[in-house]
Symmetry: C2
Subunit: 380 residues, 2 copies
């Protein structure tokens, strides 16, 4: 089939751009001498993770136990579950650990004790990464606090737990306003992690982290050096990129591999309406701190060299409608025309669909499943 015959909205994945993004990041990680453990929460797709593995990814990162289960079943046997573990996930993680080596994340002494008790009771041992906060202030122990050392010691000492390393997500790079600022924040994050690793080793050789892990797409797209002592990087979004990454300077519009194809369903004096709304694009507003006019993704030309179409701005989304403001210089669009949209946030957009329609030029060459959902779906 060809793109123009779609029932819309549908999700398109440009295979050439996807593979180029995967190859470039893999080459960069090799050049910089760090392991690449991509975050699969962006794509939730076994076929894409296999391409990443074929290019040398050493394992994967997930952010839900559902993702961990899905990829363990598909034969991925080295998984880092990069959200602090809560007790409702002990049993699911225990089941995954039968099929794959799973590293879990802790940042709280109470959970260390509870998980240790659970592991002893179950007669198992789990690999634990300590989550570190280097400035994002979401999760983690502060990198230069006494608690960081105490918690590492506690994990190391806990029966049933094996302390394997430290992990941060320098998510505050997304709040930077310039690429220079992103680079600076990533450098600071690396220094903080290396300094904590050194402190732990000095305290006790047994605490020397095997893995020192950082990771974000803007960071890994923009840095050209990795500090000695960082062993692993975990970017996720780079497989697709998106319009937020374009605005942050992580990539160009032509690198964006994921788009939503929508139909024009209404044409009016000052606007058109398309059949891609909040359930097709997500209402992620993009990088609001850049003080740009708010827009929900960017309309681009279909196929060939990617270019933004001037004079069209997606100004609001309701559930199934997207309202597009027309400037005077806008192309004349009519009912039934297709538009292709680079979403603001490809991770959230992919999570709204069941299927990637993989395209080469204007031909669909494959359909890949998106394993979206929650472990809660399986609650029994």
């Amino acid at each position: 089939m060809r793109v123009e015959s779609f029932v819309t909205p549908a999700l398109l994945l440009d295979r050439h751009r996807l593979e180029r993004n995967i190859r470039r990041m893999a080459e960069k990680a090799r050049r910089l001498g760090v392991a690449l453990r991509p975050h699969i929460k962006t794509h939730k797709c076994v076929e894409i993770a296999k391409i990443q593995r074929n290019h040398g990814a050493t394992g994967i990162t997930v952010s839900t136990v559902y993702e961990a289960m899905t990829f363990a079943r598909a034969g991925f046997d080295d998984i880092t579950y990069a959200v602090p573990l809560s007790p409702d996930k002990f049993q699911p993680v225990r089941e995954i650990a039968d099929a794959a080596r799973i590293k879990i994340l802790l940042d709280n002494p109470t959970t260390v004790d509870r998980l240790s008790d659970f592991c002893v009771e179950q007669g198992i041992s789990l690999d634990v990464m300590m989550k570190v906060d280097v400035g994002y202030h979401r999760c983690g122990v502060t990198y230069d606090s006494p608690e960081a050392v105490h918690l590492a010691e506690r994990i190391h000492a806990a029966p049933g737990l094996r302390f394997v390393g430290i992990l941060t997500h320098e998510g505050h790079v997304y709040d930077a306003s310039t690429t220079a600022e992103i680079r600076r924040r990533v450098d600071d994050a690396q220094r903080a992690m290396v300094s904590l690793a050194r402190k732990l080793k000095e305290r006790n050789a047994a605490l020397a982290p095997e893995v020192v892990s950082i990771g974000s797409t803007p960071g890994m797209s923009l840095v050209e050096e990795i500090a000695d002592g960082i062993t692993e990087v975990r970017p996720g979004n780079y497989v697709f990129y998106d319009y937020e990454q374009v605005l942050l300077g992580s990539c160009g519009i032509d690198d964006c591999a994921l788009t939503v194809v929508a139909s024009v369903v209404g044409v009016y004096d000052d606007r058109i309406v398309i059949d891609a709304g909040a359930t097709a694009l997500s209402v992620d507003p993009g990088p609001e701190h850049l003080n740009l006019q708010r827009a929900f993704g960017r309309i681009v030309r279909i196929n060939g060299e990617r270019a933004e179409i001037p004079g069209l701005t997606i100004v609001s989304l309701s559930q199934e409608h997207g309202k597009v403001r027309l400037e005077d210089n806008a192309d004349k669009l009519t009912i039934g025309d297709h538009v292709e949209i680079v979403p603001n946030h490809s991770c959230l957009t992919a999570n709204l669909f069941d299927t990637y329609h993989v395209i080469e030029g204007d031909k669909v060459v494959a359909r890949w499943r998106i394993s979206r959902g929650h472990c809660g779906s399986a609650n029994v």
Copy 2:
């Protein structure tokens, strides 16, 4: 199972609140003498639509062909597809029309001609509603424009099409700041629709609309009178309500039937982090025009009389994390505690899950499937 044993995040649906909301709206429609055609885009769930039908709903409203297909297969045989039809949907609608009576929506002369040609070619006839704009300025012909009359005439005259009525969605009630303003806008919408219906009838008795349809949850929750000449209402969100409706004054917090149960996965000095992020709650910011502090849903007490928990504000969401700011008066929460969240926008939240866990008190009494997805999933 009991609520406390969930693997989180999971979606809870309080059966008592759901049935109370459905019953009240059904009683109101009966009292006001209008047909109730609920919009099922909110719940996408056959079981819930059956409860609505048992309470006297005369048909359903859908906003995608996928929803139309799903509900036609489940035996719903009177469906209004309330988004202007685009040519990619002609063939799917033609297939649905074999199983159910489907009314489609048009607001553009070009599509009238193209659909008419299609129907003639296929040897079928389709029921058409004309979409009217009464102030929301998303889709529709302006109610008092000459185009409105011309378009109705064109539909009426088109072979293969049957003009059955006029339809509006007074979505601009969501931009109102007071309940008085919502009521005023709904009254104006009713007057506009009745006046257009009269004008059409005066022009040509054959143009007298059988159906004059309006519909929004804030409107139907707050009005106590319906203008003579309005025949049908199409609220959707009222089955669940949500925190946006609470803030708009459409309902109280205790009417909200849908919640997300999440676990505390991190505890820090100034905040906790929960395992409900953008993929569990959606990043809908709620009614921004009210200039409230931005928050992504409201944390409430689990079970019993619903009450907001003071001192906790969900200030930001990343993909799987929710960051909750703690005020001094906040309850002391610890890792593994469950919190229950009334989402800002229940339609978008439900669309992120596969299953409603239907609860009575703290017991799960049923699991109902959510038919989320896009027709694009079935592209072949």
